[in-house]
């Protein structure tokens, strides 16, 4: 009976050690990878998902415009990780700012892409969680 308990404990310890090693390795790889590599991956993904017009605008100005799926309003999304969405009026002037982001730490390209998808597919849902900010 003691032998069986010892075998069980040994197996659990081995499993714990294996998992710990795996987590440590994953963390180490994440830590050693330059931040710019992660940023570049996010920007590549964003560029793949932008329409040709949005991509051209983003490459030239660092922002692109999207149309809200529910209201038809236009929004300008600047490259960034927060307070980077601007609602436009009919004259193309920025009226108010909106801020919503995907949960967790994500690179700027991912944040911007998540904002674009949200406004184009669930504008009301996105603005429901968003906070607005005053433009200066």
């Amino acid at each position: 009976m003691f032998g069986r308990a010892r075998d069980f404990a040994t197996a659990r310890c081995r499993e714990l050690l294996t998992n710990s090693t795996r987590w440590a390795k994953a963390f180490s790889e994440w830590f050693r990878e330059p931040g710019r590599a992660r940023e570049a991956r996010g920007i590549n993904l964003l560029r793949e998902w932008l329409s040709p017009e949005q991509r051209a605008q983003y490459d030239r100005f660092g922002y692109f415009d999207v149309t809200g799926c529910d209201s038809g309003k236009r929004y300008r999304i600047r490259h960034g990780t927060g307070t980077n969405i601007y609602e436009m009026d009919a004259a193309g002037q920025t009226r108010t700012g909106w801020c919503f982001v995907p949960d967790g730490y994500l690179v700027a390209g991912d944040v911007v892409l998540a904002q674009k998808i949200a406004l184009e597919t669930d504008e009301i849902g996105a603005l429901t969680v968003a906070k607005h900010f005053v433009l200066r």
Binding site: W30, E33, S51, V101, D103, L106, I117, A118, T121, A126
Partner: protein, 73 residues
């Protein structure tokens, strides 16, 4: 080959699978259920470059992107 792209702290993580392989397809469907169950939004691209949200696993989708839940900034 199809791919599921999950946004994360590394930029993204890509899971490539063969939609003609039953085991890989089942694994992809399980991943879809787990991620959407955890609050991720699944999206696919249309031919015109627009995004559309997917509520149910689509075995014919070539590329599915998983976006974490949104919060006010």
């Amino acid at each position: 080959m199809a791919v599921q792209i999950v946004m994360d702290h590394n930029g993204d993580t890509r899971h490539v699978f063969d939609a003609n392989n039953a085991k890989e397809l089942a694994r992809a469907e399980k991943r879809f259920r787990e991620l959407t169950g955890a609050g991720f939004t699944a999206a696919a691209r249309t031919g015109s470059g627009d995004a559309k949200v997917i509520r149910k696993f689509d075995p014919t989708s070539e590329e599915t992107l998983f976006v974490p839940r949104l919060v006010g900034g």
